[in-house]
């Protein structure tokens, strides 16, 4: 993975975002104060406002950062799977296995998804936030759908399958898996659900 060297300003901005994301995913955006974010990120008030106009500006930045980050991880894992395997189905299965491993290797449980966090709070009332969230899940759906189309061409599915729904299921299972992971005492629910999805896809496409 390419490591980009950040300028000092970019590094500060990134530090603020990382601290804010951690706190927001623990207690929600409404309960998070700018003061505690500045404290956690070790920036001054003027340092913070140099990067963000206000709290809403930060909310948008956090969401965009999360969607971009997740998309990048997805693309990198798909690239790795494609480099190893030509077959579209087996590449997809390898992708899901690697994705489950990445989730399993997290030091703690998955911290949560910014889209889900906002959708359960009043951020959902902001038109821009809602639009960015909807665009985020549609971007992901499109990526999965393209690959599922290639799979369905080579492996006619064993039952009539709604491919958009199957593409969505990649997102659904991760979102739902995070909820399970948050609720259960032991970690591991999320990677286990990703592997269940892998088995579902294998079962629906692989010849009996």
């Amino acid at each position: 993975m390419a490591v980009k060297v950040l300028s000092k300003g970019e590094a500060t901005r990134e530090r603020i975002c990382a601290a804010a994301e951690r706190i927001v995913l623990e207690k929600g955006f409404a309960a998070t104060s700018l003061e505690e974010i500045m404290d956690a990120a070790k920036v001054t008030k003027s340092g913070f406002f140099y990067h963000f106009k206000d709290k809403h500006d930060l909310a948008k930045a956090l969401l965009q950062r999360y969607v971009d980050h997740d998309t990048r991880i997805m693309d990198e894992l798909f690239e790795r799977a494609d480099a190893l395997i030509d077959d579209p189905l087996h590449s997809y299965l390898a992708f899901l296995k690697m994705f489950a491993e990445v989730m399993d290797d997290l030091p703690d449980r998955h911290p949560g998804c910014m889209i889900a966090s906002y959708c359960y709070q009043d951020q959902i009332y902001h038109r821009e936030i809602r639009q960015m969230s909807a665009e985020g899940v549609l971007t992901w759906r499109k990526r999965f759908r393209e690959r599922l189309d290639a799979i369905a061409k080579r492996y006619p599915p064993r039952a009539a399958i709604n491919l958009d729904a199957l593409a969505d299921m990649n997102i659904t299972i991760v979102e739902g898996g995070i909820i399970l992971d948050k609720g259960r005492a032991e970690k591991g629910a999320l990677p286990r659900q990703v592997l269940m999805l892998r088995d579902l896809i294998k079962t629906l496409f692989a010849p009996a």
Binding site: A159, A165, I179
Partner: protein, 212 residues
């Protein structure tokens, strides 16, 4: 009727009204953004009226999740019983119940479907161990009830490969939770039922592969 007959009933009604209002507010905008002041204004009672029923906002939130757990547990139990009465085949009954479960999860007193436990999970640092236990209780009874039916299906239709039935039961919960999040974020049409249909197709492929 005397005053003493009326009082407790009116109290119970106020308590229920407060809980209904709080549930809607929390599902719409989260726990932190929901204030006691707005709830008492909507219910038309005083602050001391609120504190007569609930020690604080946290206690109200826990009561909501207790009530929600009880409602969902009873609802799911009834869905299974009705489906099992209509379908002698355990797999058919399970598939039918899953459709009902997804449908019930999509029905909501709020503008978008949602789940209290999920809302609280995304604000978990504001709560305590007892709340965590209530969330866990909700996950456990759903897993237990679905798993029991998966075992019956597996007894009649032995799967070709080993299947982790706990994970398979959890998958139904994950799909419902995930689809609710999708449907909160995206404009209609909802994705819930199509997501559940895929799960049902998967179950058929696992347990009755020839029929799939």
């Amino acid at each position: 009727m005397t005053d003493t007959d009326l009082k407790p009933r009116r109290g119970e009604q106020t308590r229920k009204e407060l809980m209904d209002l709080a549930e809607i507010a929390i599902l719409e905008k989260g726990y932190a953004a929901t204030s006691i002041d707005e709830l008492i204004a909507q219910a038309g009672i005083t602050k001391s009226g609120f504190f007569y029923h609930f020690g604080d906002k946290l206690e109200l939130a826990k009561e909501l999740l207790r009530r929600d757990n009880a409602t969902i547990e009873a609802g799911l139990q009834q869905m299974f019983e009705v489906a099992e009465a209509a379908h002698p085949d355990p797999l058919d009954a399970l598939l039918e119940t899953m459709t009902q479960y997804a449908q019930a999860a999509s029905a909501s007193p709020t503008s978008r479907p949602g789940c209290l436990a999920a809302a609280f999970s995304y604000q978990h640092a504001l709560f305590d161990e007892e709340m965590q236990q209530l969330v866990l209780y909700g996950l456990d009874f759903k897993r237990r009830m679905i798993r029991e039916r998966l075992e019956r299906a597996a007894a009649k239709y032995p799967p070709r490969e080993r299947v982790d039935l706990d994970a398979l039961a959890d998958m139904a919960i994950a799909i419902v939770q995930g689809a609710m999040i999708m449907d909160r974020v995206r404009d209609p049409p909802p994705v819930m039922q199509a997501q559940m249909d895929l799960y049902r197709t998967y179950l058929r492929a696992i347990f009755a592969p020839r029929a799939a």
